[in-house]
Amino acid sequence: MAGPINWLSQVISITKFGLLGIPGRIGSVAAAVCGIAGVVTVLVGVLSIGAGFRRALEVSGSPDNAVVLRSGADSEMVSGLSREDVNLISEAPGVRRDNGSPLASPELFVIINLPTRATGMDANVPMRGVEKAAFQVRDHFKIESGRALEWGKNEVIVGAGASGQFAGLHVGGKVPVGRFEWPVVGIFSAGGSTAESEIWTDARVLQAAYDRGDSYQSVQARLESPAKFQAFKDELTTNPRLNVKVVRQNDYYAEQSTAVTKLINTLGFLVALLMAFGAVFGALNTMYTSVSVRKREIATLRALGFGASAVIASVMLESLALALGGGLLGGGLAYGAFNGFHTSTMNWQSFSQVTFAFQVTPELLTQGIVWAALIGLLGGLFPALRASRVSISAALRDL
């Protein structure tokens, strides 16, 4: 009589009775579902910050681009390259050419202070001095409003992210550079990359404004193909006239995202873990209530021949169902509240703000649902064991 199908039908039946009885104990059920939804919302919400930050840096890198810095430099901030270095790098084998001109963009990188729109507090905003090649080594660059830079002029164009986060960065606005104020003439997008967090100007005028002579801090080189990277790197690192390090652009940005992403994820998991601890007690309470309210019903079913293991499985299944409901609710809330929300944070490698959008990815939603399921199973386990161990005759006497 007790085959696996029969057992499964017992489990489904008892679970169904439990779920159908939810309206009778809606208060405790709602508290548990909301508790689990809260955990998932916070977990997914916080992790979406890390995911958004990581994505902003990931899309900044292209597999066929290389970044050249001074040897020993971890970021552009602490790098320095002379005009002669730039020329040698540009002429190296493997660099793609466009009408004979190498697609190698020497760039200058400085930081200016600007108040944020949200708080009015000063923040470090990256400012990049570029030449024409800068637009050729980046994908998805587009002027969204205003116009492009005119070379040789004290003017800037601003990334869409920076424009949204910092005061004065709109077309017609002014940016303080040293003792002067330069007009904003355009707003650009760059496929969600970190370039959108930056202010761009002509490298030559920025060199003059900051007394940098004819020096740069990095060269962004577009290679003929990703496979040419090793040859390009070997050529530069073995050249006795150069003292540089060469990294793939993907790796460079991935490295930059590591510290912040790890910090955000650690904080996210810690907060979620603390909340999950509370939510487990919520689930425990709900399932103990469920089992207690249905004590005589469960005892009756067992008297009729339903098995103890089917009772355990069904109580856990009910708890799991409630938890998954909470997980889906939390995931939906996180998606609605956080996905695409724009903010900025400090990139500790470059000591400057990176603007990015929170990313509630399918992976994060899955992670949230898994957390909810674990909370549900843990919250259902002890009530299920209690339900199965209670004496049938004692429970039947219970009024």
């Binding site: 009589m1 039908s9 017992q10 019903e297 067992r302 021949g305 004496s391 005759s393 039947l396």
Partner: protein, 233 residues
Amino acid sequence: MSNANSEILVDVDGVEMVFRRGAEEIHVLKDLHLKVPKGEFLALMGPSGSGKSTLLNLIGGLDRPTRGKVRIGGEPLEGLSDRRLADWRARHIGFVFQLYNLVPVLSAERNVELPLLLTHLTKAQRQKHVAAALNMVGLSQRARHFPRTLSGGEQQRVGIARAIVTDPTLLLCDEPTGDLDRKAGDEILDLLQALNREQGKTIIMVTHDPHASARASRTVYLNKGQLASEPLQ
């Protein structure tokens, strides 16, 4: 079920039941012997705490005796694991409870169907059995009603339909009229009597009501865990 000892369906042999409350031992049943022939309608009477329900639970395989043996149709229950005992109950015992113990979220017919979920019957076969059981207790018209919309007497009739739907060997009724008024109680007793006389069902009914026990073919009395042929005065 074994054919041995076929005249005697229930054989309670030297059963003792001891409950512990802290260091205290409470002897609920003491060296109790009871034989119930197949087809008998037996009433078990006695004051509260005399051990009536405990004895009924032992016969129904819901509890295990501290000492002694319970055999139903010659089959000893003590050797069965909990899982096998549950299977055995599903096949051989029909329970009728004082407070009906219906699942509130299920209609009358779904409540009656419950024991059939433990069988390999198809849905159509189950529906046929349910319809027959509800017809037998006179509730065909109320099949889709939920317990809260039924009177106490109707709920108990659903409880009886649930108890007989698998055609069990033995019906165990624990104060089946204890929560009903006299009229509804009489209807339930009529039904139990009919099941015994017309269908040959063996019934053991715990009651404290002499009016109810008068419907049984035999009455035994329990007092302080021991059987007596006459009630204590």
